[in-house]
Symmetry: C2
Subunit: 230 residues, 2 copies
């Protein structure tokens, strides 16, 4: 039996957007949330998103809401999961969820230049407010995917500027994974990956100068598989 | 700018269903396809699926088309990806795709008992006919996911009966991965996983008796993450 198609199903696209913010105790992983101005869940915080337009590819819809929320282009954008439980919203809404990484230096620059749009605020992922709908599950799933992926790809570089020290890169891994890593093991592992290119520049400051590295631009941040950029 | 919602977007759920078939040169990985009886692409083969019903969860829709196609319940069912390119169908259709594993012994028993429904035929994945829409991409992506997952979980057990010899398990890995594995390395690796439970039974036949194993039922075939069975 083939149930009839029902026009009452609506399609939304939402994006969980990660960046880092420097804090007193090191970096924290943050996401922007949008305060809802309409029912249902008016006044509550939600993951940025909107209805899919008929003439818009899924990925384009994700990029659009990302740009509307942050004014920026992501260093990584990938489909996460589609949430479609019957009772997740008063009407039947299927949400195709993407996740994205933004370079922290770009977010900082944008913040001081233009400020975030009204109703948008960045939150540390381990200190989130109550979220509308099932958006807490969306965020938890995105964090899980990010943590997993950090373990087997160089995706963490998507949170960093073009050039970075090994200590800065390790700090990103530590922030995402939520645990300390042994500096010399980390150095061995990363240098062994052969995707890291040393530059002639050094970071100077309070400590002894540290060499700056960049990633080999020929190597993708992670394997996208057959769907490529879809 | 928030584009208006357009009711012209329709939501389908499709499932790429894997099982094994014994062949002259060992097992082959197979999937069922459905011959389309309607335009567009009438007469072409397609991945089983249908429209999402308003009162039906995504996973239930995937289970339903799987049961309609094979008469069976899967040992593994997981959301794969959502395909939504504008031009993938004459009307705008967003397809939420699942992938599933069926135990080969159940497929064989079902085949000889009732026969497959009309319009359904099983094909070896490396000898597929031309597929309707973008379904070749759906299948390729599902194969890619299965191969990846075999590398870091015990998902391959979903293709086997409850009890199996180490040689049978290795044959499944070899079929999915498309390459030979060293028997003693494989034995060491699998036995080290501690999820394999030896039984008191043996497979007897042309060769010397081989002990039968089963998986520890307490251990999931793979980590589902925060979305659980959604």
């Amino acid at each position: 039996m083939q149930p009839a198609h029902d026009d009452a199903i609506r399609v939304a696209v939402s994006t969980v957007i990660f960046s880092l913010r420097s804090g007193d105790d090191g970096d924290v992983l943050t996401i922007p949330l949008v305060r809802r101005t309409r029912e249902p869940h008016r006044g509550q915080w939600a993951v940025p998103g909107g209805w899919l337009a008929t003439d818009e590819d899924l990925r384009d819809a994700a990029s659009r809401t990302l740009a509307e929320t942050t004014g920026l282009s992501p260093s990584w954008l990938e489909q996460l999961y589609t949430f479609g439980e019957i009772d997740r919203s008063p009407g039947r809404v299927v949400s195709i969820v993407y996740w994205a990484l933004l370079r922290s230096d770009l977010v900082e620059a944008q913040r001081s230049a233009a400020g975030a749009p009204e109703n948008v605020e960045w939150f540390a992922v381990d200190d989130l407010p109550d979220l509308a709908f099932d958006h807490r599950l969306l965020v938890d799933y995105a964090i899980w995917r990010l943590r997993n992926k950090v373990g087997y790809s160089r995706i963490a570089a998507g949170l960093l500027p073009d050039e970075f020290t090994l200590a800065e890169l390790r700090a990103v891994y530590e922030t995402v994974l939520g645990r300390r890593l042994d500096p010399s093991n980390f150095r061995r592992l990363i240098e062994g990956s052969e995707a890291l290119v040393p530059t002639d520049a050094f970071r100077t400051g309070a400590h002894r100068p540290a060499r700056l590295f960049r990633w080999d631009a020929e190597v993708e941040l992670a394997d996208r598989g057959p769907v490529g950029h879809g």
